[in-house]
Symmetry: C2
Subunit: 102 residues, 2 copies
């Protein structure tokens, strides 16, 4: 069911997702835009793949990565429901309190 929380918990992975939102990229390009090693980037990509937020496509010696937009959309929606509800609860509580006051 794709743990989006795990996927986005690391700033490098968030940055990668941002890059892939603009366009499909070969691993090379992603590696070049960070200072950490190629295997380190590979591991981040592996996690994004595991969580199905990213798709890969092999073309000759290049491996292209792209955002899995449908999955990302529904998972982000899930997150907003779960986390947003926390604040909604809080606001409803406050509203209720203010109503009881009057």
């Amino acid at each position: 069911m794709s743990d989006i929380y795990r996927a986005i918990s690391d700033p490098i992975r968030r940055q990668i997702l941002n890059m892939l939102a603009e366009r499909e990229l070969p691993q090379l390009e992603i590696v070049k835009s960070f200072t950490i090693s190629q295997p380190a980037i590979k591991k981040h990509l592996a996690i994004l793949l595991e969580e199905k937020l990213v798709l890969e496509r092999r073309e000759g010696k290049y491996c292209f990565y792209r955002l899995n937009t449908p999955v990302f959309e529904v998972e982000y929606q899930r997150l907003q429901n779960e986390i947003g509800r926390i604040l909604d609860n809080k606001l409803n509580r406050l509203k209720q309190y203010l109503e009881e006051e009057s």
Copy 2:
């Protein structure tokens, strides 16, 4: 600057945040609502405190926890900006592509 990503990456912590959204609770109540041990819950609370999403208040032998609503609000806003932008980018790209088509 409060790493909300770290805070919400664990389902138990998300559940705790939800409970605290409803009302302030003594640690006891939180512990009772899970099957894991008291020290385990304590560690989750320590992380939520570290990330400033939760506040604690001592009253006699009880330790009360409550949501740090202002911080939570701004941090969640941040998250929505950062993550939401990923989909915005994607949508803008699509829009642009469709416009170029015509």
